[in-house]
């Protein structure tokens, strides 16, 4: 012991001496050959150098010097090597090599000399030391951009590539750590915690290489490629090491702290932290998948945990996650793993086993890892539904899955806890209001899938589950979003199936399919990392085969049709054959056919029977379509609608209501209020058979719209009065708003012909003398000319004439006549084509509806429970605003609407639905205001308008920045854009 130490110290001093010589020789060198010689002299002491290859490339004067260096024995050389690299000598020489030699001499080195006496110092050294020596050289870049630094850096990069990638440096390093860590010598010298720090320091250095490399660095040092190589080498080392450990018979559990594993884990965690978990997994997944598939294919009948535990090549995988100490890295890794497995389309069983292999130890031992799956995986993150299934199977159900569905294990306590936790989140109103839609769908799927696994007894014994489900379902069913309602009905269906499988509860007619689609339309396929072109090809093939099938189908249909035709013709022929034109037909026999059935009843004589046979019945089918009483008067209509006990009458009344109203009879004005009330109070669901409610609803809505269009003031007054009445329910309020929306749009798009005010010229203002005939007439008429009188010279009258073109009727006479005093031509001239009748009524539509939305009354609470009505109301106001776009009325109505929108209760309403409508209405205001109005308002200092517009901008900005609802933020962006456009036009 003492002896070896002493010897080691001797060698050390020798080496230091030698290094000192070399360094000074290099410093004093005038020629490159001197440098080569100096380096050679120490190189030969350390490792075998092929001197003969150097001889050719240096000057003859130095050859002797080169050869003079004694070549030590291999054993001696080994000692030297050890001491050289593990003591202070190498760092010293390395610094000289990297900075001085590289800068001054390396460019002059012949290629063979560079590899022999320069690169080999690094390549043949232990990579741990080499890395520590080289990497700091990379750090120099960026400080100053002179060529010196560039030379040094590019050389360092080159050496790194050479050592780590070209020479399996990472593999060696990992091996070295394994040896170092377990060797007693090292244990004595260095405390384990220090060793850990050292390992992580090296890992950190390795992981930082791509960051430190310059932009011009070789492609191999770019993050993706470099890490990929590193990972491949490390994985190889780890597998090798695990086999080694197994062979030694050490139990895996005890050998947690193996140097190789530690290093690999540290490096992986750093790679993951840098965001390259996908690269790591791209290497890891195929390997594990290969192993798992091998196992699965060989043991289809019997798969359990022990099977995998017994395989030696799994040992590292069991420990891999454990070695990654950084929980953030593990989280990234697990997330990425799930996505990647989803894109690989692995089966449920494979996915389960992969998860199990990687995570089962850590998930059991470490709460933080468990919570990655159970909390984050279920509640915070959003994965594809297949991943959700895997998570549930692995982390919650904790047993291998069945062939095509989730399977429940022995221990259900975990499941019950999870269900309780999930429901706790899922059922809160706040979650419904504020969580993103994807998140909601995901959590709903998690709830549904885990509920499916529960039995009725478990459901009953688990605390709070039933009330929570009820609460969650009911608060979702109120939502205006059909998707949210569907989530509720899916959960209700699952729940009802658990409670009573024979009696499923369908809240929604649309989702009656057997298996619920938990995706809810969100197809979350992350980007594929490995572009699997073969899959695309497969898809192509599928498409092609599908097409060919389709073609076949078409042609077969064609064939069928042809066959049918042929058959049909055959049949016709055969039928035709039956009728022989020459056959003698006895009329009596024909008659017998018809009267045979009568004989039994009819006791009359033959004569009467024969005569009866002439009484052949006509088609006796009868329907009662014409029997329904028609409602033809408005008064009758109102009366008929108010007969809830006579559904037929109400239905008939609804049928004719729109027509009657559109006819716009005189009494409509007086009856419109009554009619509005009567129509609104009809209960369509009561009077129609199931499945036809929609048509009745549609008729009612159209009738109301027509009422509002034909008789706006009176009807709208009635509607607005009812809008806040406590006697109507939400559906009626929504109906009213819908009707107002439709009516406003219809009025806005209405076209009407109105005779234009005709200006009559006074005699004095006309250009031509009054006594001349007017120049009216058909186009093409010539000028008036005075006709010279031939008779008497004295004439009291003037006569004029002009040429007229032929009337169209003289050429071609048409049959249609227009019953009018005025000609068609005149009408065209006198008619004014007017559009948009709505501005006249806009105030009547909007102002009453805006009053009192914030008052809470009996049965009316728009800001609270009836938020759907509020959203609809604001939407309606927005539509109205749009309908008065560019009219002066918009300017008058905008401030009131802006005032309503900007109130805090509305603009910051908890429900995204309301916020969306506010954004819509705000956008409508921006669209509706004529830029010139805006400009003049700003100039005149119209505070309301300018303040309101500014509010829109700031608020939209706020929403765009901090909104959870994606649709809201999108709309806010649009709103901002509109604002910008308006501002541009107004300025």
């Amino acid at each position: 012991m003492e002896d070896s130490k002493r010897k080691r110290r001797e060698i050390e001093s020798k080496i230091l001496e030698k290094v000192g010589e070399v360094v000074s020789a290099i410093a004093e060198a005038k020629y490159v050959d001197q440098v080569i010689c100096a380096l050679h002299s120490i190189a030969v002491q350390l490792f075998p150098v092929d001197s003969s290859r150097l001889l050719g490339c240096i000057d003859s004067g130095f050859r002797n010097q080169l050869l003079s260096g004694g070549i030590s024995s291999p054993f001696e050389r080994d000692d030297w090597w050890h001491v050289f690299y593990h003591e202070a000598a190498f760092p010293t020489l390395a610094r000289v090599l990297i900075y001085n030699v590289a800068l001054d001499w390396l460019a002059c080195f012949p290629l063979s000399a560079r590899t022999q006496v320069y690169d080999s110092f690094f390549v043949k050294g232990p990579p741990i030391e080499v890395v520590q020596a080289i990497i700091p050289a990379l750090l120099k870049n960026g400080s100053n951009k002179d060529t010196d630094v560039n030379v040094i850096c590019s050389n360092a990069e080159r050496i790194l590539v050479l050592c780590l990638l070209g020479n399996n440096g990472m593999l060696q390093m990992a091996r070295e750590f394994g040896i170092l860590y377990s060797s007693e010598e090292f244990t004595n010298k260095m405390l384990k915690p220090d060793m850990l720090v050292f390992i992580s320091k090296i890992a950190q250095l390795i992981a930082s290489i791509p960051d430190k490399a310059r932009l011009e660095a070789p492609a191999a040092l770019s993050s993706a490629q470099f890490f990929k190589q590193v990972i491949i080498q490390l994985l190889a080392a780890a597998e090798e090491r695990s086999v080694e450990i197994c062979n030694k018979g050490e139990a895996l559990d005890q050998s947690v702290s193996d140097g190789t594993f530690l290093f690999v884990g540290e490096t992986f965690s750093r790679i993951c932290r840098r965001g390259f978990a996908d690269i790591l997994l791209a290497e890891v997944v195929p390997r594990i998948l290969g192993h798992v598939r091998g196992c699965l294919s060989s043991n289809i009948d019997f798969i359990n945990h022990n099977l995998f535990k017994s395989k030696t090549n799994f040992q590292f995988w069991f420990k891999m996650i454990e070695t990654i100490k950084d929980s953030y890295a593990v989280e990234r890794l697990s997330e990425q793993l799930l996505h990647q497995l989803a894109t690989e389309h692995v089966t449920d069983i494979e996915a389960y086993w992969i998860l199990w292999i990687l995570f089962h130890r850590t998930a059991r031992n470490q709460a933080s890892i468990r919570s990655i799956f159970v909390d984050k995986g279920l509640l915070w993150k959003v994965f594809p539904v297949c991943c959700l299934k895997w998570i549930l199977q692995f982390a919650v159900l904790d047993c291998p899955p069945g062939s095509d569905s989730l399977k429940k294990g022995q221990n259900t306590q975990g499941l019950r806890d999870i269900v309780q936790r999930l429901l706790g989140v899922w059922s809160t109103r706040q979650f419904v209001q504020s969580a993103a839609m994807e998140q909601q769908a995901y959590v709903t799927a998690a709830v549904g899938l885990s509920l499916e696994q529960m039995s009725k007894e478990e459901l009953e014994t688990t605390k709070d589950v039933m009330p929570l489900i009820l609460q969650g379902v009911s608060c979702r069913l109120e939502s205006p979003d059909p998707l949210v309602r569907r989530m509720a009905s899916c959960i209700a269906l699952v729940f009802s199936k658990v409670v009573d499988p024979k009696n499923p509860l369908y809240l929604d007619d649309n989702c009656r399919e057997e298996t619920i689609n938990w995706e809810f339309g969100f197809n979350r396929q992350p980007k594929q990392i490995s572009a699997s072109s073969d899959r695309i090809e497969k898809a192509d093939d599928e498409v092609k085969s599908f097409l060919s099938e389709l073609n076949k189908g078409v042609s077969s249909v064609d064939d069928d049709r042809k066959n049918n035709n042929v058959k049909g013709r055959h049949q016709m022929f055969s039928e035709l054959k039956l009728v022989d034109p020459d056959e003698i037909v006895d009329p009596a026999t024909l008659n017998n056919e018809y009267s045979s059935d009568e004989e039994d009843r009819d006791d009359d004589d033959d004569a009467s029977e024969n005569s009866d046979s002439s009484l052949q019945p006509y088609d006796l089918s009868d329907d009662d379509a014409d029997l329904r009483k028609k409602v033809s008067q408005l008064v009758d209509l109102v009366g008929a609608l108010r007969k809830p006990d006579d559904p037929d009458t109400v239905e008939r009344a609804l049928d004719v209501a729109e027509k009657l109203v559109r006819a716009s009879p005189d009494e409509l004005q007086h009856l419109s209020g009554d009619l509005v009330r009567a129509l609104l109070q009809v209960r369509c669901s009561d009077l129609t058979i199931e499945g036809e409610e929609d048509s009745a609803e549609g008729k009612r809505q159209r009738a109301l719209v027509s009422l509002l269009v034909t008789c706006p003031f009176e009807s709208v007054a009635a509607v607005n009065k009812l809008l806040y009445s406590p006697n109507v329910d939400i559906s009626q309020r929504i109906l009213m708003l819908d009707v107002m929306i439709d009516a406003a749009q219809e009025l806005a798009n209405a076209t009407s012909n109105r005779p234009r005010h005709q200006q009559r010229n006074l005699i004095s203002t006309s250009e031509q003398p009054w006594f001349l005939p007017q120049s009216k007439g058909p186009p093409g008429a010539g000028l008036w000319k005075e006709v010279s009188e031939t008779g008497t010279s004295l004439s009291w009258s003037y006569r004029y004439e002009r040429d007229l073109p032929l009337k169209p009727s003289q050429i071609k006479t048409g049959k249609s006549r227009r019953w009018s005093l005025r000609s068609e031509k005149m009408q065209v001239n006198q008619l004014e084509y007017s559009k948009n009748k709505f501005p006249l009524y806009a105030a009547a539509f909007m102002l009453p509806a805006m009053q009192g939305f914030d008052k809470k009354r009996h049965g009316v609470d728009l800001l609270g429970g009836d938020f759907i009505v509020l959203g609809k109301l604001i939407y309606m106001l927005g539509v109205c605003m749009k309908c008065v776009a560019m009219h002066p009325e918009a300017m008058a109505l905008a401030p009131a609407l802006l005032d309503m929108l900007s109130s805090r209760d509305v603009s910051h309403h908890v429900e995204a639905y309301v916020r969306r409508s506010v954004l819509f209405a705000a956008s409508c205001i921006l669209v509706a205001l004529h830029p010139s109005f805006v400009a003049s308002a700003l100039v005149e200092g119209n505070a309301e308008i300018s303040k309101g517009l500014e509010w829109i901008r700031t608020w939209a900005l706020h929403v765009a920045e901090s909104e959870t609802d994606t649709e809201c933020s999108m709309m806010a962006m649009t709103c901002l854009q509109l604002h910008a456009e308006m501002a541009l036009q107004a300025s």
Binding site: R601, L615, Y618, D619, L627
Partner: protein
């Protein structure tokens, strides 16, 4: 012979009435059609040209006409109209149409919905009676007599008018307007006591009989009253009982009663085929059967046996929608027609009771249906103010 051929459309639609057309009736020999509407207008139509021959307001607009009738028995130039004003008016048919004033007015003082019925005489004995042409001039008031010779007095119109007018003045005061006639020139109607049937003489405008025959007494039998109002009536002369007027009456409770005027106190038979008021009755030409329509959902074909005095159901036809306002049997006894509240005219094989056609034309309740005596035409009238002419199963001649 396609059994699936669609039902025929009317060959003509006679428009002109401004109110619901209550009754329709063909002239026995000339191509004329008489129609009466609820606004009191009586129209005569030419069934060849499909044009109005004449139109006259024969009853008050407020009351309207409920029935019109002609019969060879009362003369080819006469038509009888019944109004809801409690009168029956007999009119002469002149060249240009109707006489300006009725030849006879009977004040029946009955206000109800029962259409009058002239006496129906089997065609076989029609000739005999015409030959006999003898009328019992001495009319017995409220006749308890069972025998009424069918002597036919060929009185002049003017005389009739005078007599009627005189009688109208007198009788209206004294008898409360219920007169009945027996014999060919009689008319049967529901009486002023609506549960009774009265027979009036069209010559004298006097009431001949009252069925049940207690009408002059203060109390009427409970059994009759229990039947409720008389809703339909049909008078006829069964061929085998020479000249003894029989009356078949349908009542509010759905029962039908056959009276023989020889014994007006007690009905020959009483049957109840319907569960709702009997609204119309028709007896076929040989007077051995008939058809009845009611407010319930069935039509009953029945047979009458005058020897045993019984009335039996031959066939019961159930309907989808209740209410038959009018029935008629064609003279050749082959088909029968019903006018339904469901706007349909239905044609049946009268012998077998099998349905032959459902005629959809009218857009409101059908009030009456009638066949022409030559069996070629059928007319239907409806609340939709139209009269439709149909040509169905024309006789093979």
């Amino acid at each position: 012979m396609d059994t699936k051929r669609p039902p025929p459309d009317p060959i003509a639609v006679l428009r002109g009435h401004r109110a619901s057309v209550m009754d329709v009736c063909f002239h026995s020999s000339r191509p004329l059609l008489f129609t009466g509407a609820t606004d009191g207008e009586l129209r005569i139509w030419d069934t060849v040209q499909h044009r109005t021959v004449s139109s006259s307001r024969v009853h008050g607009a407020a009351h309207g006409i409920i029935g019109v009738a002609t019969s060879p028995l009362i003369g080819d130039n006469k038509v009888v109209s019944q109004g809801r004003d409690g009168t029956i008016k007999c009119w002469d048919i002149e060249d240009g149409g109707l006489s300006r004033t009725p030849s006879l007015i009977i004040k029946t003082n009955s206000y109800h919905f029962c259409k009058l019925s002239l006496v129906k005489k089997p065609s076989t004995c029609l000739e005999q009676t015409e030959d006999a042409s003898s009328v019992n001039a001495s009319v017995k008031k409220s006749g308890s007599t069972t025998e009424h010779p069918k002597n036919f007095c060929d009185m002049k119109a003017g005389e009739t008018v005078n007599a009627a007018m005189l009688d109208g003045v007198d009788g209206g005061k004294t008898q409360g307007g219920s007169v009945s006639t027996e014999g060919p020139k009689y008319v049967a109607i529901a009486g002023s006591q609506s549960s009774e049937v009265e027979i009036w003489d069209l010559n004298t405008a006097e009431r001949l009989a009252c069925l049940p025959q207690i009408c002059n007494e203060s109390s009427s039998s409970n059994s009759t009253k229990a039947r409720g109002m008389c809703m339909a009536v049909q008078a006829f002369l069964p061929p085998k009982l020479q000249g003894f007027l029989n009356v078949l009456a349908g009542y509010e409770d759905g029962s039908m009663v056959l009276w023989d005027l020889r014994n007006p106190g007690v009905p020959v038979t009483s049957v109840k085929f319907h569960s709702e008021p009997v609204l119309s009755l028709s007896v076929d030409e040989p007077c051995t059967g008939g058809i009845s329509g009611a407010a319930d959902d069935k039509i009953v074909l029945f047979t009458l046996d005058h020897q045993t005095g019984c009335c039996l159901v031959k066939k019961e036809i159930s309907l989808q929608r209740p209410g038959i306002g009018g029935t008629s049997i064609r003279r050749d006894g082959k088909i029968a027609a019903t006018a339904g509240w469901d706007h349909r005219i239905r044609i049946y094989n009268y012998r077998k009771g099998s349905p032959l056609a459902v005629l959809k034309y009218h857009s409101a309740t059908c009030n009456a249906v009638s066949f022409s005596s030559d069996c070629k035409l059928m007319a239907s009238s409806s609340e939709d103010t139209t009269v439709a002419l149909w040509e169905l199963y024309p006789p093979r001649t």
